[in-house]
Symmetry: C2
Subunit: 345 residues, 2 copies
Amino acid sequence: MPNPGKCKVVLDAMGGDFAPENEILGAIQAEKEDSNLEVWLAGKKDEIEKVLREKNLQFDLSRIIDSEQVVTMNDLPVQAYKEKQGSSLAKGLNFVKNGDADAFVSAGNTGAVMTFSLMIYRKIKGIDRPTIGTLMPCIGGFCTIFDAGASVDSKAHHLAEYAVLGSIYAREMLNKPNPSVGVLSVGEEESKGNEISKKAVQLIKPLGLNFKGNVEGKDILKGNVDVAVCDGFTGNIILKFAEGVTHLLKHLIKEYAEEGFFKKIRVGLFKSSLKSIFSKLNYENYGGVPLLGVNGITIIGHGSSSPLAIKNMIHKAAEAHRKDLISKLTEAVASRNFDHNEGNP
Amino acid sequence: MPNPGKCKVVLDAMGGDFAPENEILGAIQAEKEDSNLEVWLAGKKDEIEKVLREKNLQFDLSRIIDSEQVVTMNDLPVQAYKEKQGSSLAKGLNFVKNGDADAFVSAGNTGAVMTFSLMIYRKIKGIDRPTIGTLMPCIGGFCTIFDAGASVDSKAHHLAEYAVLGSIYAREMLNKPNPSVGVLSVGEEESKGNEISKKAVQLIKPLGLNFKGNVEGKDILKGNVDVAVCDGFTGNIILKFAEGVTHLLKHLIKEYAEEGFFKKIRVGLFKSSLKSIFSKLNYENYGGVPLLGVNGITIIGHGSSSPLAIKNMIHKAAEAHRKDLISKLTEAVASRNFDHNEGNP
């Protein structure tokens, strides 16, 4: 990696729902907390400068990668890639690709961030399908689910790729020395599952991972496995379902409080505790999710990312660079032979 | 239906993890609450009599359908059907099939209950794949998910069948006059989804339902749709994931209480409130889930069903009979032409 001094992270300043303000605030905070970090902002220079002026914020203007175009949440990824090479996404990723920075972070259109990263970084040799993970808070820490929506119709050999990429990620970035990996299924027995999951179990077995075979939906939250692999359709539905859990809880608590005076008082007294407990469920606090399988670091955040979330994403990107994550993933993939024939002769 | 007097429900007394005790207690309680209800117990007569003696309970012994065999949780469904025609499952279902009772309830091996019901009742004409629903507590009531695990590799036309069966179930049994139906997917736009879900949307559109197109995981808990259809693999993973939610919450609350004296006190004061709020999340309280698409009423319960859960399941079975659910499902299916070619010419 070409960076002897500070770690340079490019932030897509135009990405999230509250861009560029939350992005700028997160970037400044991240730099404050880590003196060996340098954030570069990819985005419309005039808009960034306007926020800096209005909020009376200090940021080195020479670290703005001026980008005349913006990829919106509604843009179709492939079309955007064709038509928006002047966007903060394209310019920011190319800046990293060319060795001028070490990692890229965006809270923008997930599909577009993925497509641009794939086209600009290219895939790691041996990987057919890059994957996006999601960190699920569970008993004892986190379970990471791959794929959480990068592809909808994953095949069995893709799940095998996710298993290798995911377990290296968990080892390096989540401090699990020997991460356990499971295939998400409908029962623990090997006979249980759909066509893809059953094949995936057979393909993952010989890969030399700490492989637990099938795991069920409940094993995710119980923390019975560090990495759960599944097709991106299933993973995305679980991710979105989990997002709905805090909504439902807040609603149930509100409903309970409305049942009577004393219940209202009781909820009032417990409010700060609830806030603290719920914050652990809010995985947006945990600093974005990795795109794995491409030849460079991209951390993807939720569209509604707060300055805190942006800051955490930047730290995570820097950590991935410092831990030389891409080399470690590349090495792990190179030593495996993924069976693209899905176990068929 | 051949029952002019009381509604007769057959309960599999050998089914659940705490059979036959919880089953007997639930049956007696159900009859106490509904004088027009008569419960029949299918199971080993001596075991049932032993519990009645030991617990000093009153139950009309002539209403025991003596069954020499028991289908266990570990039995493979198809093999059990071949080898255990003397089981409480087979004898109980045949009792209903022959018109001697109106509905069947079991907290036993779900796959076996399904297989036995399918083989003994047979499918409703026009239905290719029966389905098991799951009631998911949500903002404003319940969302029902079909399929929750009856089949793992559902096809698009199965999802169309689930949509019709599920919407009639929601109309009749959940008091939704015009239930909304959605296909579970990874985005609201029609272009989003996997191969099966995208085809399913096209197949469901012409069926004359209150159809909302694609819905996402979060829409389930937000209550944005009354019935969500998906393949049984996805549905089962969500169901099990949801089961894990209360585990995680209890753990987070315990962890919080252990952070210090005052936090412990606070949790202690809020304990009864938490119990009341969590009880709404515990869908085992809601009386089992329906097996739809077969020519008779079967309500399936969780293996760990309490007497309360058993009682609620019996009431639900009686309600389904009184509302003439099977005729209404049969009628709804007869008026539709499911495209078994999956939209292909």
